[in-house]
């Protein structure tokens, strides 16, 4: 009996099957396929993204040209009516969606890059760099959002890029804290320390071992940050801090408000835009929450469940 038999016999039924196509790689697809909530959320997001991408081809009218009377009610040619300037609402919404989504995603990208970078450095290296970066983070957390936005707008002038910048400035801290916490814990995992003892450089460890492990959580965070970014865009534009010439969902609501759409009874000038924002935010939340829940399997087990284990009653004794 050779030395090898104890291991070849290890190969049970399972290992005789071909290696699974992707194994752990596609956690994203796993989450999507297993969660209805994720499917709906992603669906909603993809819907709006598709509309934004296909805008040049599907916009019925030019969003800056008047095609009728101010606040004309919805009709067959204009399903959502016209705004105060006689512009078709559907076209406005499509155009607004493009810009709002771009602002939301761009701000999120900047926020995640800054926050992620700071979080990784603080979490991985610890020590004084951690303390320093975390104090900076705390400082930004403490700054009141609105005054900051107002100051930036006042000093640099209102524009979309400034808006993106301000939103990013408000959002990066959350990402930084989450990433730092995760990196700190992953860093202590045995396989990460083992990579270090093999002689791997810090860069390699971060990119090959740490980032993939925090990837899913980062993804959840990104998605949820987009929701907040879009909301912030709406709010800040409403307060007049955005580019007055740009068409965004926020500006649509703002102008409708300023131009007394509500007292004119023109709900179509206000509500659809608000609903668009609400749907995108909900889509983001659903998707983000589904990813987060999938990452935390312990949430599924309820030890305080009122249900009990089942007891099988013995089957009726046979006669004789």
């Amino acid at each position: 009996m050779g030395m090898r038999t104890d291991v070849t016999d290890d190969i049970g039924e399972e290992l005789k099957r071909p290696a699974p196509h992707r194994g752990r790689r596609n956690w994203f697809w796993r989450v999507i396929s297993e969660s209805t909530q994720a499917k709906v959320g992603l669906g909603v997001l993809l819907f709006f993204i598709a509309i934004a991408l296909l805008a040049p081809w599907i916009m019925p009218y030019d969003p800056r040209t008047s095609v009728g009377e101010p606040y004309e009610p919805p009709s067959w040619e204009h399903p959502l009516g016209l705004d105060d300037g006689g512009v078709d609402m559907v076209s406005l919404l499509i155009q607004g969606g493009r810009v709002s989504l771009v602002v939301g995603f761009a701000a999120t990208l900047v926020a995640v890059l800054i926050g992620g970078g700071i979080g990784i450095i603080a979490g991985y290296f610890g020590g004084w760099s951690d303390s320093l970066l975390m104090r900076i983070t705390d400082y930004f957390l403490v700054i009141p959002d609105l005054p900051l936005a107002i100051v930036v707008a006042a000093v640099w002038g209102p524009s979309l890029s400034h808006l993106i910048f301000v939103i990013a400035l408000l959002l990066w801290t959350t990402t930084a804290r989450i990433v730092r916490a995760q990196v700190k814990s992953v860093r202590e995992r045995v396989y990460v320390r083992r990579a270090g003892s093999l002689g791997a450089s810090d860069l390699r460890i971060v990119f090959r071992h740490v980032l993939p492990q925090i990837g899913p959580l980062l993804a959840a965070n990104v998605v949820l940050t987009v929701a907040v970014a879009i909301f912030d865009e709406t709010a800040l534009t409403f307060l007049g801090l955005g580019d007055p010439t740009a068409i965004t969902w926020g500006s649509i609501i703002t102008f409708a408000f300023l131009r007394t759409a509500i007292s004119a009874g023109a709900w179509w000038a206000v509500i659809p835009a608000g609903l668009c924002v609400a749907f995108v935010i909900m889509g983001c939340f659903w998707l983000g929450q589904a990813i987060e829940d999938a990452l935390n399997p312990r949430l599924k087990v309820s030890y305080l469940s009122t249900r009990s284990f089942r007891v099988l009653k013995p089957s009726a004794p046979e006669d004789g």
């Binding site: 016999d9 087990v301 309820s302 030890y303 009990s308 284990f309 007891v311 013995p314």
Partner: protein, 326 residues
């Protein structure tokens, strides 16, 4: 009538993917007062599931069948009231890793008093006095009761967990891997304590562990488990010197002895999956004495003599078995 009787216990677990895991496959055993019985097996053999069933602590994903009787009364029920009647007051348990499961924000004394008050066996000053007695019994200085778990060492915490388990004067004590995470010296202390307590209090002790030498030193008899079923039972002495199941023999052979020059073996292969029906003897793919019958027919756990049971075809075929055993 034995103190604790288990008859044909089956436990299934529903997995998230929809499969059913047959974790315990028809286990029967008896326990009398003063018995010190070991339940031995490697990971996944079902020993912890069995003791959890005895206390009705299985999760909602579990389904059980069979009968468990404590002092004649059936306790394999899903009715909390019936379970509570005997939990802790009749049968109690030191859980695996109990020393890490103590409540960090309550003093040790409070945690010993808690079960007494909950089960109504003592109250107030009476309960506290009794807690003090228990602490002394397990070798913790009485004034240490006012301390918090994090102030204790691992061994002391395990003693505290033991005191908690004894709070309501149980008749049966289930100890699940009580010394696994402890140093060998502390382990010796705890095991000595367990044996002394069992003798002094007349407890029936069930020691669940994968560590054969521990069972050999503490218990007078043991049940060896594999793939959810008991494959052999008997007095410790005979299990080592005259095993009647190849797994028992190989398990002992895989444990290095301190002084002996015996060969140390490993058992090739892995245990069978419990979510599939097992054909033939569950151990046959790894067995060094398997023959044709083992592949097709599942052996029953049969009585070989008054105190011995084994589930192996070799016991039926003395010609094949040679020395009449495994």
């Amino acid at each position: 009538m034995s103190l604790l009787e288990v008859r044909d216990l089956h436990v299934w677990f529903d997995r998230p993917g929809g499969e059913r895991l047959h974790a315990v496959q028809g286990v029967s055993l008896d326990l009398d007062a003063g018995d010190r019985m070991g339940l031995v097996g490697e990971s996944g053999c079902g020993k912890t599931t069995i003791v959890l069933s005895l206390l009705g602590l299985l999760p909602p994903s579990a389904t059980v069948a069979g009968d468990v009787r404590f002092e004649g009364e059936s306790i394999l029920v899903d009715d909390e009231e019936t379970l509570q009647l005997h939990r802790w007051t009749g049968i109690s348990m030191v859980f695996q890793g109990a020393m890490n499961a103590l409540n960090p924000v309550k003093t040790v004394e409070t945690q010993i008093v808690e079960p007494m008050e909950f089960h109504g066996t003592a109250e107030g000053a009476d309960a506290r006095r009794r807690a003090g007695e228990l602490l002394e019994l397990v070798g913790i200085p009485t004034d240490a009761g006012a301390r918090y778990p994090h102030e204790f060492s691992g061994g002391m915490r395990q003693r505290a967990a033991l005191a908690m388990a004894l709070a309501c004067d149980p008749k049966v004590l289930l100890a699940d891997e009580p010394t696994t995470a402890l140093d060998v010296m502390v382990q010796a202390q705890i095991l000595e304590l367990l044996v002394a307590l069992a003798k002094e209090l007349g407890l029936a002790l069930v020691l669940v562990t994968h560590d054969l030498p521990v069972v050999a030193q503490v218990c007078d008899r043991a049940a060896v488990m594999y793939a959810g079923e008991i494959v052999e039972t008997g007095p410790m002495d005979l299990l080592f010197h005259a095993p009647r199941h190849p797994y028992t023999r190989l398990l002992f052979a895989a444990t290095p002895g301190l002084h002996g020059q015996d060969e140390v073996v490993s058992i090739p292969g892995t245990p069978p999956r419990l979510d599939r029906e097992i054909v033939g003897c569950p151990f046959h793919p790894r067995c060094d004495r398997a023959f044709d019958r083992c592949r097709v027919e599942r052996p029953e756990l049969r009585w070989l003599s008054e105190h011995r049971r084994a589930a192996c075809h070799l016991n039926d075929e003395p010609a094949v078995a040679g020395r009449g055993g495994a």
